[in-house]
Each structure stands twice: as C-alpha cells, then as structure tokens.
C-alpha cells in the first residue's frame, strides 16, 4: 500500500473539505436570528440545525449552523453558509437546485453565468457524486436551509 493510494481519495476529500470539515467558520448558533430549521438524515444519524438572519430587503444576512455528522456534511454546511451570504431567497433556491444536480451527477447542466461564481466555491463537493450514499451528507444542510427559508421547522432527507 503506497502513499499514492490516498491521492485517490482527494477526488472526494479535497483539502478545502478537510479544512472546512475540521475548522468550520460558521459553526455556531446565531443569537439574533429570524428563522431556524433542523435537518435529519435518519439513515446515517447526521443532524444539522441552521439559523438565518435576513436583511431588511429579505436577503440572507448571516447563516449559522450546528452539525453532528461527517466531514462532508460539516464542510458542506460551512461552504453553504459562506456562499449564500447576501443572496435573496429566490437566488438561494436556484443555487440549491444547481448544487443538488452537481452533487448527484458531478456536473451542473443548468448553471448559467449567474451561478458560475458561487458554484465554483461549492465545486470541491462535486466528487460526492461518485459515492451515492454520501450525496445526502452534502445536501442535508441545504435541506435545512431551504426549510428555514420556507418557515418549516424540520426536514428529513431519507
């Protein structure tokens, strides 16, 4: 078993993921928030809660989260929090749709110019499409985020 074998893993566990997984920047409960929702993946035990603060215009001013789960889900939550900053709900939903496509297929057929920049930030997670059972780890925080936008309190990705 040569050291090289672990380079194979970099398709999924890129440096940025390991880093955000280990040291998430947004992994905190917001004391001052407008909406919050929980997400639960009962199949694997991953759990996440997301808090949102909106600007007066209704865009996302701040995102905080608490996650119990694997490196993929924590990194995904953290990259998500970073990327949705300043976006309005419609944009955020479009971004989620694009992200979900990427997580499932490795590509983003619907990505237009507006999505190029944010999707580049999320691109390190694209490797997850090779591991279908891990796709939900990456999308779970997004489900919670959308639930918070919708005003739904709980969501589950089974």
């Amino acid at each position: 078993m040569s050291g090289a074998t672990f380079d194979d893993m970099r398709d999924l566990y890129q440096e940025v993921i390991l880093d955000h997984g280990r040291n998430p920047r947004h992994a905190k409960r917001l004391d001052d928030f407008d909406s919050t929702a929980k997400g639960d993946n009962p199949m694997c035990g991953d759990r996440v809660q997301v808090w949102l603060k909106f600007t007066p215009a209704g865009a996302i001013a701040a995102t905080g989260f608490e996650a119990r789960g694997c490196a993929i889900s924590v990194a995904s939550a953290d990259l998500m929090a970073e990327t949705v900053q300043g976006r309005d709900p419609a944009d955020t939903r479009a971004l989620f749709a694009a992200f979900r496509d990427m997580a499932r297929t490795g590509t983003c057929p619907a990505c237009d110019a507006a999505l190029t920049e944010p999707m580049e930030r999320l691109a390190p997670l694209s490797g997850v499409h090779e591991y279908p059972s891990r796709v939900k780890c990456a999308t779970l925080p997004w489900h919670a985020l959308i639930a918070a936008l919708d005003g739904t309190k709980e969501t589950s990705s089974e």
């Binding site: 078993m1 074998t5 672990f6 194979d8 893993m9 999924l12 566990y13 390991l18 199949m43 694997c44 035990g45 991953d46 119990r68 789960g69 694997c70 490196a71 993929i72 591991y131 891990r134 780890c137």
Partner: protein, 414 residues
C-alpha cells in the same frame, strides 16, 4: 496460514467457492468485511437456484403433476435441513418466513396478540436490533403489553442481575433477546437466560440472525422456546427467514397472515386453519429461496461449525489485536464471549468518512447505527464503523483493514 484454525479449514479453497470475492472494487482487490449485513453466496447456492429454474420448477403443495411434486420435495427438503441444522425434534416446528424481521412480526402478532395478555410484559435488552424492538413497541402501543429493557454493562454484556430483577415480578411472558449482538459481537449467555426466564415463568425467543452464522445452534440443548434467523446472512438467498418454535406453543398461537396454503377449509362464514407449520405460511412460499437455503445449509454443514467457529475466533483475536494497536481507535464492545463482529470508532474521523475512505481502497465495512439506535444512545455514540467476518474472511484482509485505517487516521490528522 492460520495456526488456530483446524488444518482441514482451507480458506483459499473456500474463497474459490464464492465467485464474487475475486472482483476488484474501484481498481482494488475486494475486501468484503460486511458479511454481518448480508453474506456472499457460494456457487452451491447459485447453482441450486439456477438449476431449479432451468430444470425443475412449479408451484408447490397443491400440484398433482410431476414438476410440482418434485419441486415440493425440493422445497420441503429445506425444512428438513433447517430442522437438522437446529436440532429441532420435529420438522413441523420449522416455520418459514420472509426474513427474521418477518419471524419477529409473526411472534409479535401471533404470540403477542394471541397468547400474551394485557398486563404481561415482553423483556428485551439494550442491544437489540430494530427488528426485535419495533414489533414489540407496536404490540405495546396497541395492546397494553409492557416492554421492558434489560440493561447492558459497559463491556457490552447483558447485566444479569438487572435481567433477573426485571423478571422477578413474574409478569414477563416472553423474553425476546439477541443470541449475538450485530454491533458488539457479544454472545449472550443463552443457558442462563433460559434458566432464569423459565424459573419466572417466561418463554424465551432468541434472535439468532448473527449467532447461527458463527456457531452451532442446538435448540434442544439451549432449552429455549423459539429461535429466529434469516437466510441471507447464512450464505443463503434473500427473501427467506426461519422461526423455530416448540410445537405445543405454535399450536396455541393463532395464525398471522391469511391466504392460500395456511387454511384447512374456507367458507365466507368461517375458515379453519391448517396444521403447524402451514398455519403460519400463507400464500406461495419462497420456493426458490428454500431451495437455495437448503444448499447453503448443506454447504455450511460440510465445512462444519467447529471449523468455522475456530477460524472466526482466530480472526476476531487478530482483528482485536491489530485494531487496538491503532492510536485513537476505540473498539466498541469488550464481551468475553464474542463472535465475528468488530465495531470501532476513530477519534479524528467520523465513521462515515472512515467507511468511504476504506471503500475507496476496496474495503467494504458498514458505518452507522446498524439498526440499533437505542444501543448507540446507550453507548453515547451516533455511529460506529463495523467490520464483520464470514468463513471466507482471511487474516490478510484484516491486515489490509488495519494498515488502511492507520493511513485514514493520518489523512484526517493532518
């Protein structure tokens, strides 16, 4: 290769009987350490099922023609093989179900709703699989039958004092408990459990889904009243399970599902039931699966439980030694008496990440709650990674696992 296995046990020869094991996964040799979830199938099983479909198949029991008679014989031979395997005194005590989950649901409906009375209790343990929890919860919520849970020690063994205390008021009508934990590997002290339960007037049902894969199960020697297991973990096909029960108890129990084959006669006003075990076997049975399971049992018997148990015991010893030496790795469960299941956690990595990194190297382990959420809660964990061994598992595969885990830890420690 393995000094502790009997000299007749030739794992290389056995591996040749399991064609799937020569696959490569993500470009690496396939190291399958997930037999506890479902075992691979030997050629004998594959051929028996194929052969039936190619040369001898029809519906069973009611056919008067040659194909139906031959297929009935082949299918009913599975019942004989199961009876012999478990040392049942009577082939009519073997009920064929769809899975061990099916066996538990049969018990919860038929014994639970038909024999137990409101006010009585069912006693399970803190280390049960969901299939030995949820049916009893549903019974509790519907019929007011109490559900008691015997605690386990920190080593992952049944707390026998607490177990006895829970029996003491004589209200427990049924103890339904694992014979071997699918998470901790713990083999429970079956003889003492039966002894205590019977002393306090409770019947005993064992969940043998894991146990029967690893050691000889003799229901007469165990002295229990019911014993349930599942075909796909014993190198047989999916879609088939077993419930053994003492004949006089099975006869007291009302049927579970209704349909063809389980009746004696049907009119719109009233139907009467067939004799055991057919009373519990509604509809066209798992014919091909019975034929496959018979082949699996024959295969296991030819290798012999002594040889299998010795081989697996040496694998467990080796695995515990190698894994315990990995810094930051905690083996979950330290029972004295244990089978071929080793659960663990790594300090720097979540078990899902561990499983994915191992998978990338061709190593299949399971990660999660292993259908035992309450046990996870008891252990203060969300999930573990779990390596489980079959008769075809080698010492070298455990070395590959241990070496790779060292690298996984390194990978996540940077």
């Amino acid at each position: 290769m393995n000094a502790l296995s009997p000299p007749t046990f030739d794992v290389a020869r056995i591996r040749r009987d399991f064609p799937i094991l020569s696959q490569t996964i993500r470009g690496k040799p396939f190291v399958f350490l997930d037999s506890g979830a479902s075992a691979q199938k030997p050629t004998a099983v594959i051929d028996a099922m194929r052969n039936a479909m190619e040369t001898q198949y029809a519906n069973v029991h009611r056919g008067l023609h040659w194909m139906s008679e031959r297929t009935t014989e082949a299918y009913e031979a599975a019942r004989d093989a199961i009876a012999t395997l478990m040392n049942a005194s009577d082939r009519h005590e073997i009920v064929i179900t769809g899975s061990v989950t099916g066996s538990f649901n049969l018990m919860a409906h038929s014994f639970g709703r038909g024999v137990l009375k409101p006010g009585q209790a069912v006693l399970i343990s803190a280390m049960e699989h969901h299939s030995n929890i949820v049916p009893w919860q549903m019974l509790r919520d519907e019929r007011g039958i109490e559900l008691r849970v015997a605690p386990i020690t920190d080593a992952g063994e049944l707390d026998m004092d607490a177990f006895e205390a829970l029996l003491a008021d004589g209200k427990v009508g049924l103890v339904s408990i694992t014979h071997m934990s699918n998470v901790l590997g713990t083999v429970t002290p079956a003889a003492r459990i039966v002894d205590l339960a019977h002393r306090y007037g409770a019947k005993v049902l064992f969940d043998g889904a894991q146990a029967i894969v690893h050691r000889k199960v003799d229901v007469q020697a165990l002295g229990c009243d019911f014993y349930a297991w599942t075909g796909h973990k014993l190198y047989g096909p999916t879609g088939i399970g077993v419930l053994w029960g003492r004949r006089e108890l099975l006869e007291q129990m009302p049927p579970f599902m209704g349909g063809g084959d389980m009746i004696s006669s049907v009119s719109f006003e009233k139907s009467t039931w067939a004799q055991v075990p057919h009373k519990f076997e509604a509809g066209t049975p798992a014919i091909l699966e019975g034929i496959g399971l018979k082949a699996a049992i024959d295969y296991v018997q030819a290798i012999g439980y002594d040889a299998i148990a010795a081989h697996e015991a040496s694998l467990v010893d080796h695995a515990l030694a190698r894994l315990s030496a990995i810094p930051g790795l905690t083996v979950i469960g330290r029972a004295q008496d244990r089978g071929g299941v080793v659960s663990f956690t790594l300090d720097k990595a979540h078990s899902h990440d561990v499983a994915t990194l191992l998978d990338r190297q061709g190593i299949a382990v399971r990660a999660g709650h292993h259908c035992a959420e309450p046990l996870m809660r008891r252990l203060g964990l969300d999930s573990t990674a779990r390596a489980t061994f079959g008769m075809y598992t080698t010492r070298e595969e455990i070395d590959v696992l241990a070496d790779t885990l060292l690298r996984v830890r390194e990978f996540f420690s940077k």
